[in-house]
Subunit: 331 residues, 2 copies
């Protein structure tokens, strides 16, 4: 049996089974981030996110600063999904010794800028030489005890809602793969969301503080896959209504150019770094009016039912099979 | 100008210059670990340490569990060097999809065992597929406010002292490179220190709590290089007296077999994960008698003078040039 046979999530489960018991670890593996209770008024949130050249990013598709920004955004988004405010960001960077110093500086600058854009700071890091560039980001955050958002706790009857709009990163990758490096020159909105995503840190904190929703995940594996993560941890079934899913601006036009389907990008593309919430329908209007949420938008995209797994329904409420279920590192 | 031209330490300095200001970051880049003040009675210690197959470890030299143990030990040792107790360990593991699950499990088990051996736990992690195995370890620790050990603060007139004994990891690597995978079958003590190092967590905590020393670094880059780090941060000169340096058991015999010099391994080999301290000479005897220090030994190996840099003196007090100054990832 090899890693590719069991896949990423089963392997992460194995890490979880190897983890020791410690009363300070409130939440270990299985959510967007770990939660530690060190005795203060706030819980500590810890998350790591690693990206490898050739697998998670290509240096001919983005500027080095954008690669750094994107890598940092993934971990900052995990912190946002816990309802926490980021406290400090650390990076481990592996770069070829042949890299110009200016290129390395630009990559680091992108990491630092991404942190500063959400009110935190690059506080440390480690450097190794590596034939392929790699970036491992670790973010610490803090959330007042009891306010943490988790994947656990969704109940039948609630709705699923998503911030912002989806599909741009998947669309950008598809277009770049199809048309080459100039593919996005006429799709600046798509390129912008791909190159400099905005982790929903302010929205996450506001949602957590409001108490209007307690269940959240950030969309990194794809809307349907991440809905499935909520369903698994909560012991429920997630139903996504495809026509209600907000597709990011510019995606439909870009998809038409390459004969693709923008809705598929939005449903299963991933790395959108928006927030997917499960909440009582009665709270949706109030949550959508919260200042940082109102800026980016909040759309109901489905509901929670008794059962298990995640399904997608079309306008006629027929179940849709997606081309793939989401991102698996070992697939 | 390329990364290999400026080297690892200059690159880390560039990260430091890019780091933002944050009052919660008591100590950012430049010590063994970052120190954060989140308002509780203890400071939070954060460190990351990354290792890459082929560069930092070889899977034909150690068992997968030993590779995991060693990787975790490097970060745990950083926490020990701050005088902190580790709170939780997180790992990012990159492995080829073709790896047998059992081999991946063994590597993870080594990481988890290393954490448990010093009273902490593997609390989370991330997984990516990577052609070359890579392990990035992050450890959080806690140290009572005011007890932290740093590289800064050594003053002329103090002595340098080291726990345990040095040179085994460098000797193991030299012998394996010279004689092949069976090189250490008759050198179990050397192999043991290489394969399953013991980060000085208990000793570090006891030293910090005693107040008998305030300046420490863990020996990861090599004794002389790490003494130089203390000298730089403290604005002093470190003088190592080579005849006083404790060479690990079995190293002299192993060195004789391959025509090498065990003292060079001890002076500049690195990854020993012992502690190097600067302290008042009057405190040495009391510190050596502290229970966890007494078990592993404490030896004076030099002194702090006015000036800068680090030098090594032979028995006639003549300055020795070492073959290399320590480990530089980009050299």
């Amino acid at each position: 049996m090899r890693l590719r046979d069991i896949g990423e999530f089963a392997f992460i489960d194995r890490i979880a089974r190897m983890s020791g018991e410690d009363p300070r670890v409130v939440l270990g593996i299985g959510d967007d981030a770990a939660l530690l209770d060190l005795g203060g008024p706030e819980l500590l949130v810890v998350t790591t996110d690693a990206m490898l050249e050739g697998r998670h990013f290509r240096l001919d598709w983005l500027e080095p600063a954008e690669v750094g920004w994107r890598a940092a955004s993934g971990a900052l988004s995990d912190v946002a999904a816990m309802g926490a405010a980021p406290t400090a960001l650390f990076c481990t960077v592996g770069l070829p010794a042949s890299w110009p110093v200016a290129r390395a500086d630009a990559l680091l600058r992108g990491i630092a800028d991404s942190a500063e854009a959400v009110g935190t700071t690059l506080a440390g890091g480690d450097v190794i030489a590596s034939e392929r560039a790699l970036i491992d980001i670790m973010v610490l955050g803090q959330v007042p005890r009891g306010q943490q958002l988790t994947r656990d706790g969704a109940v039948a009857g609630q709705v699923l809602a998503v911030t912002g709009a989806l599909g741009a990163p998947a669309g950008a990758v598809a277009a770049l793969a199809e048309l080459g490096t100039e593919a996005l020159s006429e799709a600046p909105e798509v390129r912008g969301r791909f190159a400099r995503p905005a982790p929903r840190v302010r929205a996450g904190r506001a949602i957590a503080a409001s108490g209007l929703a307690c269940v959240a995940i950030d969309i990194s594996d794809g809307l349907v896959q991440d809905a499935r993560h909520i369903a698994e941890r909560s012991g429920v079934r997630a139903v996504i209504e495809a026509p209600r899913v907000p597709v990011a601006p510019g995606c439909v036009e870009l998809a038409a150019r390459i004969g693709a389907d923008a809705l598929v990008w939005a449903l299963s593309g991933g790395e959108d770094f928006e927030l997917l919430l499960a909440l009582d329908e009665a709270n949706v209007a109030a949550l959508a009016d919260l200042e940082p949420v109102a800026e980016i938008g909040l759309r109901v995209v489905g509901r929670i039912e008794d059962g298990e797994g995640a399904v997608v329904l079309d306008a006629q409420a027929r179940e849709i099979d997606l081309p793939r279920g989401g991102w698996d590192h070992f697939a």
